[in-house]
Amino acid sequence: MKPEKSNKYLIAALLLGLAFHGSSIFFTLETTYDALIHLFFADHYANSWFEPWNYEWYTGFTVQSYPPLVHQSIGLLSYVGGLKFGMFSVALIAIVLFITGSYRFSLLITGNRTVAGYASVLAVFSSSFVETLHIFGQLPSIVGVSVLMHALPEIYLWIKTGKKWYLATCLSLISVTVTSHHVTPIFGMVFFIFPLIGMVIMDVSREQVNSNREVTFRVFLNSFFKLFKRIVIFGGCSLVLIIGCILPYWINSKANPITQVPIPHGSRDNFLEITSSGLVFFLIPWGVLLVLLPYIFYRYYSKRYIFFGLSITILTILGTGGTTPIPLKVLGETAFNILTLDRFTLWASIMSIPLMGEFAYRFVEGDLKTLIQNKLGAIYHRIIGGILTGLFVFMVVFTMSLNYFRPSQPQKIKMLPIVNFLNQDDHDKWRFLTLGFGDQMAWLSAQTNAMTVDGNYHSARRLPELTTRPIERLENSKFKGVAGIGSLQQFLTTPEKYNLKYIFSNDKFYDPILFFCGWQRLRQLENGIMVWERLNIPPVSSILPKEDVAKWLKLHWGIMPFLTVLIAFILNIQMLWVNMLKTRIKPPTDFLKFHITYSKFNRNVLRLTHIWSVFLASVVFYGIYLFYLKNDSQRSPENAIITYYDALDFKEFEKAHSLINPNSNLPIAQYMLEISVTDGLLSSYAKMDAISTEIKLHNDSTATAKVYTNWITPLEKIAKTDYKSLTKIKGKWYLQSDELDNDLPPDQLYSNNVTKYYNQGRRRITTEQTHHEDILKQPVLEVITAKLVKYDGSYAIIGEIQNIDNVPADVILKGTLYNDNNKQLATYNAKYHVKHKLMPKETSSFRINFEGIAWSKTQDSIPDTFNPDEFTPVEFNEQPTKFNLQVAGNVAGSDLYKSVVLSDLNITPNQITGNLFNSGIQEITIPQLLITYYDENKSMLWVDHLFVKEGVRQERKQNFSYSILNEGIVKTINSSMENIFVNGLPNDDISNKIVPNRIFNHISNELQPIKHPNFSFIRIEINTYIASPF
């Protein structure tokens, strides 16, 4: 007997795979969803191998919440060439493991080395693998499933032959799988190993009889009992390993059960409704396999593979997510909402690899070729071959370039300036937050020691503010609707709770909310990232709490993963050696005896495949047709309007202009000018949420449309109704251009004198603490009035504050409520209802709301619609009767623009309209009105606010309209000024010292009377946000 020859196909597959994936990972892996998270974990291990507690994310979490092998491997390799070197090396290893694993799995299933070779070549380009690696970056999952595929032949051999050696090898490989990915072996047990055991029993049964036909259920049962002991031994041992190898993980899961509310995931969507999810989680992973489905099912439902047939059926159905109700019913509510269902499709596609190889073999050089050529002719065979390979190549190219067409991540951010910033001047003594970084935030965390309140592994988080929200990260909260911004604004309003001082913003969408929550811009870094800072935040304490675990668990976690690899390597190296280098003659393994002869391809299957393909093709073409109808922008007035608004939303002005009536002779330059001068909350910070139109056709070429749009802005939800008229010209609908505001300011060039401030910070460059004499005195503020009131069911502290110092002040107000027994009930900071920056002697009304952690009690009633202004009042079990107000002033040098004028006012019983006039030299992006309500005695009752949707340009007016509050009694609960402190000192003392002769109710003659059953007067104050101050 001669040593068997090397499998040329496998070698080709390996070379191809390494060349193709190995070179492309450098362009794809860093922009995938998960790769950088694994990099962050790897960085953790590289720095503290045996200490599972990580302080950097989520105010601390344990890395024992994810199997460590891949992370530790990257960490270990990072000692050689850095973290990214480690990541790419591990990715290369994963590629090799996957290809060889596919080969071995295919060999096991088909028993034919050529077919397995075909399968391994096709596996290289299988679109599910390409997607998992290049789009998702799920390295642990790939390693897990690859090693599992390596384990399958060993399991087969153990159960078939009962040789203890095979038991050892298969268990060793199972342990490696477990330590790299926990879900893979658990579900792999069900979906891969159980069917495999079934197959072994079938094979054993087959050996006892003469033909397949004779394998009856009885024979099968007999074989089962014969093999029962081996199966039980294997099952028991692997169960022990699955638990034992990552024991700390299980202990941690028990100790810290995942309290996270379900986070929406595209794989649970209805793929027919949300086609983008259907594309990513169904079409791409299945790819060309969709065409082969009849063949795959036909083969897997043959007697030998019957259990694989059942398995792949379940996987296919579970993989359809929310398209059918079956996955929800099968998995149950909890599992359905925790699992990402795309993994089922991934496993189904991996399970199909051997049969894809088989089909390809039969099509290229086997009986299928003969059948087609005989029945339909050689040319048809060639054409079909061309179409199939074309489709196959197209899917690969399409998947690889998906990120190019639809970037899942923001542009790559240079992290060095941020890392440098954090290292400077002790900035890393506070926590930071990134906004709009995407998964790159993990890469930033890996590079710095500074801590963030956010994180990118949501299963591990513990802060109730986060676990009660269905959001992945705070960082991308704008995509998560109400829950996202609602969660973010709580962090922004009470940042001192988390020692959060710096925010790196890569998305100007968040600027207004940062500003109105009291943050200020520091500077723009070289990479274009804006740094925001909040004053008066204490640094992170040097001793932080952690949940410690026993030392043996730490050692277990640090040693076990590599130990499993080492053992698996030692046990399997011999097999590798023999298999690869063909050093000695090896009898053919057992499963090779069960290959079928490819002599007669089932005609019906061919027929069915044809019908199925025609069906698929028609579905595809119908889809494309629908897509065309929806996207042909000028087919109907609705399309024209929706396209126009979409274009405006995405700032595609050229496209928007192309929809403007060409007869209006509006050149694009003029159109752009008109668009570009409008600024404000709506035009610069809004994202369109919903649009609906009411079209009124006047004749076939004229229509008017009432356009209802809902816009998400960081501050509030805006509903808008526009009226548009449309005209049909040459079969295409066009919009009439809007009228322009012709307002012409009186001055061409004008000047404005302003006082500007500059805070030197440290005057001497030193690494020591700031010099005593360089520390500025905190500006002195005075609380003029403050009271605890109840209105509309919620409690609030309202009042008025004045900066009585000679320097501008940044104001932070923190209110605490107590009951009669002086028990603290709630504490919160002033958010939108205060001017956070006060010039000397300037006053501001304020209101402190007491927000609870939104939806913490009402998990099921999270509204689906987005409302950033959503407010969850804190639930009080006891009646608040007293309050404490802590005011802190810090010298402010920016955002001190005050040149805004209330230039006209009209009052009707329930509406106030008026004009704001910008008298200064900077453009006001978002004007905010603070409206204070007074009773008939001119005593304060309530404070309300209004964000004006449009900005105000220099020397121009902007109208606003404010709805007066509905009827409702404001109950004053406590108006004692006793417990009010400014910069830690009693308010009264300060007041008596600096303004001993204060004129109280000084401007009571200047309050605006209104007609309202509950309120008699109002006062309007104006606060401004300037997007680009100079």
């Binding site: 006047h698 004749n699 004229t702 008017t704 008229s725 009228e739 322009l740 505001d741 012709n742 307002d743 012409l744 009186p746 001055d747 004198n753 302003v754 006082t755 401030y757 005593h772 004499e773 520390i775 500025l776 005195k777 003029i784 004045q802 900066n803 009585i804 000679n806 320097v807 006060l838 010039m839 000397p840 002697k841 006053t843 001190l896 005050k898 040149s899 004028v901 209330l902 230039s903 006209d904 006012l905 009209n906 009052i907 006039f917 008298s919 020397e955 007016k957 010292k993 600096i994 303004v995 204060r998 004129i999 109280f1000 000084h1002 401007i1003 200047e1006 309050l1007 605006q1008 009377p1009 309007i1020």
Partner: protein
Amino acid sequence: MNFQFIHILLLCIASAIFSEAQQNSSIKLLTTNTSFNVGNSIVLKFSTGNNSQPLLYCSNSYGSTIITSTLQNDTLKFKIPENITKKIGIVNWKLLSEPDHISGHFTITPKAQVATMETYIGPPSIEAGGKDYSMLVVIPTDNLDNPVPTNTLVNIKHQFLNTEESNNVFTKNLIAYRKIYSQEKDGRFLVSSESLGTNSKEFTLNALPSIPSNFTISVNRPHNYADGNQITTFTTSVIKDEHSNIVSDGTFVNFFITNNKGNILKSSGLTIGGVATAKIIHPDYGDTWRIKAYVEGMAESNSISVSYQQIIDDFTVTFTNKNRNINIGPLQSFMKQMIPDGMQVKLQIYHKNKLIETYIKTTFNGYVAFSLKPEIFKNGQYNFTFETAGIVKEFKNTTLW
């Protein structure tokens, strides 16, 4: 009686025990000095009868240590380490020899010599007027970083405007301090101190103006017409505090404007050199404004009144093209010039006494044009209301055809 007895008894027992301890001791302290100058080397000597060399436990306010001895001619010598002899204060010691625990203490006294001046001043800014103060704290220290002896003279000096002042204070409880009161004028104090020939560095103390007092306002405008375009400027007099210091730059002054309708408009200004200016656009209809400025809770201005003259008394509306093209204008300003672009014109269209549409447009070159599409406004009778510059014109039962 009983108490006294017990007291005496206890005393006897105690003295007996102590005297016993004293007598049993074979080691005796030879050093008699209990006060040493800081920085000098200190050796404690004991006479001993045997050759045992017990350890000496030694403790001062910085910590404790154990010292070994050298034995020479029946004399135990303990050299106190430098880190103890360099710090002033009481040093307690105890000889760790069984059975006799001899203990005692000595004092290390400071040097009357100043090497550095540790100085703090706070707050760094105070209010002018003589009531507010800042405090300078000086800790003169010797070259070993020990505070100097009590009652060391410290000379605290400060300069303000034309005056330079020097005051003698004495250290007490290790520090010397002095409150520096502001004066009526605002300005900058420069403060320093001196002790035993050593001078501190310079410190800055800013005296800032105190709260403003009442002021007056004036108005300045290009013309007195209500053209809705020009800008009126309000200016305050130089705002000063009660001691005639000009208030700090950036002081916020609120201007409240009450118009004829009784509505309250508002502008604001920040002072520069005590003068705050606030701007407001002219109204587009004739109006009289009463203006008063406030620094809230502290000071206010006089109240002034400003009138704006109506510029448009009437305007022409022309209907053409089956009444569907409506042209308004020319809208002319006070010299019959075309009104500056941007004057608002509001058109409200009523059909069967129901408001069906409102259009707001702004003038361009003195005119505004509306065009009513037949597809939207079917043929029929309509009422139109035009409003601009506070004037309303109605056209009833106009037919569109």
